[in-house]
Symmetry: C2
Subunit: 145 residues, 2 copies
């Protein structure tokens, strides 16, 4: 059966494309560059992934984190896999600024509603991702954008 | 200069001991098994660690996660490295229950004050850690316990 991204994640994000192991999503709230990696696996816990797949996922998170650092003037990168609400394994890679709307609190439950990303900015992010993440394949159409 | 754990982390936790790369701390609030790994590095971002050290840290987090699963009836494991408040690199490994005091919200800013761990329970956790984490070395004295 084809891999499907959880409907709640789909509703909350733009699907930008995919890398070797993970789909890259971008949260619709443009207050922050908030990426979510969804690796193609049925396992729901990071610690249950075989070591090779753990490394692959963290390598992809690192590439996205380097992309964040290169294109935004970040104060911090937040990495987290929680899964209390959406069980499907997903890893947040979030760029934080000392003057962002919920600094220094974590984004979950604290980030006020913000403007959506413009279609142009989404395209630009896809193009920029291709320059730093060699295996990035953009989604044909930005889901729901 | 000797490596020092951030004073805020020291104040919030018991220092249980260390593994190859990380010190293992346990948050003083016993509502949840909330471990914090502090790797011996001056880098503050996970994504800036060399790949070998990233793998080492995630391996240690996985061992602690397996220990959690073995000794508590968990609903979920939360893994996160935020660092918005304490800059020193640290990785949360938190066991969550569907009936815990802040489920399904993340613990940060949401977990009500809870009872401290008993000295006996802390010793038991140290002993249990030794059985599942081969390189675990317990702290001579539980800091501040």
């Amino acid at each position: 059966m084809a891999f499907e991204i959880d409907p709640q994640l789909q509703a909350d994000t733009h699907q930008l494309g995919r890398m070797s192991f993970s789909h890259i999503l971008l949260h619709r709230n443009s207050s922050l560059p908030w990426f979510i990696l969804v690796p193609e696996t049925d396992l729901t816990e990071f610690i249950d992934l075989p070591e090779r797949k753990q490394s692959l996922l963290m390598r992809e998170a690192t590439l996205v984190g380097q992309f964040l650092k290169e294109h935004w003037e970040l104060h911090k990168t937040n990495l987290a896999t929680l899964g209390n609400v959406v069980a499907q394994l997903h890893l947040h890679v979030i760029g934080r600024f000392a003057d962002d709307p919920c600094w220094p609190r974590p984004v979950w439950g604290n980030l006020p509603a913000g403007h959506p990303w413009s279609a142009e900015k989404l395209r630009t992010i896809q193009v920029m991702l291709q320059t730093i993440v060699p295996e990035f394949v953009p989604a044909d159409e930005l889901s729901g954008s």
